[in-house]
Symmetry: C2
Subunit: 320 residues, 2 copies
Amino acid sequence: MTLSLFDHDAPHGEASRLVAFSGNRLDRRSEHRTESELGDALKDKATRYFAITQGRLAMRVDGAAPQGLLEADDIAAMQPQHADAVLIGWDANNAARIALPVGVAAEDLPTPFKAIDSRSVYRQALLDEETLGAFAQGTSLVTWALANRFCGACGAAMAPEAGGYRRRCTACPHVVFPRTDPVAIMLTVDEVGDRCLLGRSPHFPPGMFSCLAGFIEPGETMEDAVRRETLEESGITVGRVRYHASQPWPMPHSLMIGVYAEARSLTIARDTAELEDCRWFDRAETEAMLANVLGEDKASAPPPGAIAHRLMRDWLDWRR
Amino acid sequence: MTLSLFDHDAPHGEASRLVAFSGNRLDRRSEHRTESELGDALKDKATRYFAITQGRLAMRVDGAAPQGLLEADDIAAMQPQHADAVLIGWDANNAARIALPVGVAAEDLPTPFKAIDSRSVYRQALLDEETLGAFAQGTSLVTWALANRFCGACGAAMAPEAGGYRRRCTACPHVVFPRTDPVAIMLTVDEVGDRCLLGRSPHFPPGMFSCLAGFIEPGETMEDAVRRETLEESGITVGRVRYHASQPWPMPHSLMIGVYAEARSLTIARDTAELEDCRWFDRAETEAMLANVLGEDKASAPPPGAIAHRLMRDWLDWRR
């Protein structure tokens, strides 16, 4: 049998399909935007909105399930900031989706709306996977738009173009495009001892351990970032690196790149400023952690939608 | 024989080691910067500089080979802008490396210096791989620093911290970190016809074809970006996606993520605004293109350091 370039021994065809925030199916048409589309969408009754206040999503909470996609009438009383609105795409029925900041503070939203932070929207599964994916895009772009109201090169006002997908300085030639920050997140594996390396950040929920992670810096490969971050945080030397999955992560606008990293040393020298614990866990311990998601008294893993959970689960399930 | 998680059938252990700009070996210490290190490095005679004017590297051109790393005395007459200097790391001898913008225009550099654009530095192999990798980091950070002299949230001045690795607004709570833009670059393969898909952008050198590519957007997985970009640019539907290599790309500060993409359709519908040609090439044609790098009269491939070249070469050499 001839193996295809695309065959591999991972437990899933595409692990990136199994993580939270990956279900976005909007047609972005980001390459072919006209300057009238955002205005047209704002006038269209079929358009639906993600309204963001102080980084949180305004949700309607009077129905059986909270609603994250609002209508124009819903946001009219929230001081919608149309100047920083972003047309994020169109659904299968050609109805537009707009993400925009609103001026009413989170605690002052009118009834029946409530502002929910992105992490809670995700952890509490308040949106279906497709809407959650579109929300990831929308909130990332609103955060970016508000961080680019003025030109970083000269300080003058920026003006949005292409439905908010580009911002151009009103005084100098500077143009900015949406920002996505690549982050390497790695399950480092000791194949001889059949163990994986996990750490605890001080801001994690009690008992939770997860994969080490860090931003990929300018001027380094993804693999070198994995080796650098693992060494800095745990003192462990990494050899080979194997890509596994990616995940959009809208807090505020990252791309998680999930990999397996091969340990070449075993003695942990933890970065005490970054981690309050860092340990090797064997397969039985890792299984127990995945089962004990967010348990309070025992070690636990991040929830199933997290790419760290995916890396741990798929390591256990790998064909050997 | 038990296969390791890290074994695979690619022709190289780590293809990311074989692309240009990947040789950076500086110790960044970016997690543990003190506020005095940049000032200390500026006083140290052993420190070496990448001096950037109008996006180009000031190189000393009076020796046998052009020099990209300059001494403090070299840059003294170039109006060094210390306020936007970035301490990028330390070499194996603990000598610091600083990248900084200089005020003298490219055409006015004093003898024996000449300003060379990043693409020419790379194409003409003017720096060894390790220095070229450090230059990728340095020029990316200088571009980012100059694009963040003012706060995007409020328009006030930003002040550098941590040796230039962070910029904080002097008037509001906004803080910015170095920017790296992930780009998906894909060799789309028709496994049945044993062909690969390449395109020609209007700004390519005459005869050159390369992989399709595009920025990964907020709110999408890397794999979805590959499928979206391939469909937008060529009309080809992509199924499976396999990661192959990554490459820092300092024009201006991208991370190229190189993958193989499995074609699920064959009829090309080219985006005429983006591409002036897009075609399937068989193995013999691809071999000829790789051999005819930058040839003028026949189809040619990007040069060996390009990740597109790597993807083409490794597709041909894959164990089958």
